[in-house]
Amino acid sequence: MSLTRILFIDDGELKSIIDKIKLNLRKEGFTVVETIIDLSQSEFQIKSDDDSDKQVLDFEKIKNTLRGYFDEPFDIIACDYHYANDDLDGSKILSWLKNISTTEKKRIRKAKFCLYSSEVDKVITKTTTVDEITKLIKIRLTDLYKREQLAEGLSKLVKDNKRVDLNKELISELEKYGDLKFKSVYPQFKGKTFSEIAKEIDSESHHGVLFSKNLIEISVAHFSDLNNE
């Protein structure tokens, strides 16, 4: 069974939606593991600056929580766009996440970023400026779903994403045997554990990239040998 990890960022109820996604994908041979950042919790609230008793979302607190997931291999990040009458919206959260994780080369950057809303037309009316649209493009948003179609949309996204990501698979395999030490073939990595090498590849370091290429060459060479036998 293939494992899929989805991070949800929402302030509302998601139980049925998540159950539906899980059931849909279970039938297709996928196991879904969800992580929810529930923005309705008080830990994400702060008193508003304008001295009223209003409480608003604390973006800094949200960022800090997200930082804790930077190295997680999420396949999809699904973020609700609309949070009551808060000024903060899902596109701002994803924008920040995409920017910072790309800059810092964190694993979470490789996930597919999706937005959803129960009021998609509100999203559209808000994103009419060039800046807003540019922001969405830079996020490399995979999709914008209506909330009522979120379960189906994400299920389909997972199913359609069967394409093998070699890098991802390599990292995953290396991490399975993370404590093993690498001995030969690529001298620069001699003595490094597999999990250290996985980090190099994940961070797309110079040697991480070269090592990946090297490994592919060696694999093909090996297949050729097998063919000749």
Partner: protein, 778 residues
Amino acid sequence: MSNPLQFKVSSALKNIIGSDLINDDFIAVFELVKNSYDAHATRVDVIFENIYSEKAKIIIKDNGKGMNYDDIVNKWLFVAYSAKREGTEEDSFDFREKIKVKRAYAGAKGIGRFSCDRLGSQLYLETIKDELNSKVEILATDWNKFDDNLKDEFININVLHETITESNYDLIHGTVLEISNLRSEWNRKKLLALKDALAKLINPNTRNEDDNFQIYLQVNSEKESDRREKDYHKIINGKIQNVIFETLNLKTTKIVSKIIVGEQNIIETSLFESGQLVYKIQEYSPFKTLVNVECEIYYLNRSAKNTFSRRMGLQPVEYGHIFVYKNGLRIFPYGERAEDPLKMDNRKAQGRTRYLGTREVIGYISILDPNPDLKETSSRGDGLIKNDNYFELYDWFYQNLKRVEKYIIDIVDWGNFLSPDDFINFNNSFVKGNSEIKDVNENFRKLIESLSNSKNLKSLEVAPNILQILDEKSGSSVQSALSNISEKIESDNYDKNEILKDLKETGKKLEKLKKAKDEAEEEAVEKLIENESITNELDTEKQKSSYLLATRRTLSPDADGLIHTIKINNIEIKDGIDVLLDLLDYEPIDVKDFKERLGYIRLNAERSLKMTEFVTRSDFNQDIEKRNVDIVQFVEEYFNINKENYNYNMEFEIFKNDSKLIKNISVLNLSIVLDNLISNSLKWNADKISLDFNKINDTDLSMLFSDNGDGLVKRLSNNSDSIFELGVRENAPNGFGGSGIGLYYSRQLLEKMGASIKFKGNNIKLSGASLEIIFKGI
């Protein structure tokens, strides 16, 4: 060894050939009127009785040949059998009637009688055959019986028959259909529309004078309103008349075409202008199967439309366009205002100035038997069956339409140029647009030439006086007359009296022109006013449509918040149910899991219901799920407003102790928690509830919820936290046990808002149970 089997037919057949097939009330009435026509009736009364009461009835009564017992059994009750089609319909008919005009049958499928089901679920049929020693036969049909059990066979559903001594309707011969338990409502507007439609039902042009068929509409409930109207078209009761084509024999261009059957079939086509023949052409028919058809097409220029409107009381476009009749009775939907089965408007869209559309023509196509392959679809509202015969009819129709177009465009310039007489532009030329100049005489000659070059031509006749009229017209136009007068005066050779006479005549023509111009202007002003009001209506409608079509309308913050929450609730319900349904098919169900899921769905439904209460009482300028509220004040208000809903005898006391905590919570969820706690108290015989608020440290708030009921049972008080588990419950003294999910979800909802709940004990504040909720501040 093979053995024969038979088809069985479900009682559902009744709907398939009845209300599902005849899906329009008007068509249902027509079918029944058609049956009367085919039964040689000279009069049919369509009566709407007690139309605004529960005992409303539609009665269709005719004086046709009626039925005896045999006819009922072998024809009326024999579905899909049509004696009309078989040709045996007249066999039992008295010789006296055979010498009457033989009508061709309008209906011949044997299912028209099921139209009754469309109109109402109960049918009482009374019929007397026109024969010696005839009896009154009655049949009572309850169409609903066919719907009871679809496994019942059609043939096993009974209809009741009786022979009675005297007619309830004073019938001498004929049939009465009394339909009750009507399926639709009828009102004045609909009845007027029915009257209009019934008028169009019969093509008066195809009936000969001996064949007299009259339709009367009777609605006693509308007689009073009728008295206030003078216009025929606004009066419901009375004889139905089709005056349309009489009205149209006026100043219009008209083409008449028919196919004469002979050794070689001939198409004879005549074009008329204001009642005068312009040309008549006979051609050998290129159509293999087209026979016994006739058509008339009238082109309505502006003036003709005005005249029509004045006489008919409605615009031509409201009346219809090209009607199709078979054996004198109308086939739908040809001619219907919003329908264009002949695709004229599509074609016009390709050439607005070259082609005529449904708004510019009126007329009919008449099909007479024998024409077995030009037949109506079973549904009765979809026109003729599209086979080769139909397409020949279609081509022939367009041949005629094109001839009208050619004449209209090249000869009379759409009738736009108002001449003193019959709207033919008899000046030598007219300017088309800014550049093209058309010479009428020349064009007319070209037209005749092209007709005479027709490859199937047999003969061509041009009205000799047309050319004379052309000459006369050019001589008698106002401009020509004036220029003649000028010439005469200038020539110094004139007769004063003659000049005066010429001037008077020119004056008269100018008068006529002026009158025509004034009429046209008046019409134009009226149209403008009407258009303005239509434009206003259109704007209003557009706004309505815009509202319906707009992706986002600016709503008040209240409405926004409402929609947002309702959507979320209901998506959870929908998806929750989908998952449950899926699970039922997919894997064995764990009962506890199932309960939990159902409980969750219920909770969301409860939230939606709660929303409806909030709508009327709460300020929604913030989302109801994320509101900053002073918890103490909110709870106090909530109880004060809702206490009447709970129990007339329930007493509430609230001790605030100067406490206050402003917290961002879902007031919806908090309301549900409070309702749940109160509900539990009621079940356990409490009639008093006490709420005590106290601050705990600087940030947190405690609310002690106590009642004077029976308290928590011993069994559970030893492990009191179990009452918050799913499915844990006890039978309450009032006999109604809970579902075991209330406290479970209450705890969950409170946890979401940063609060906790626990059982404090019995007898703490009041004699019953006490629960403590602690709200954590920031």
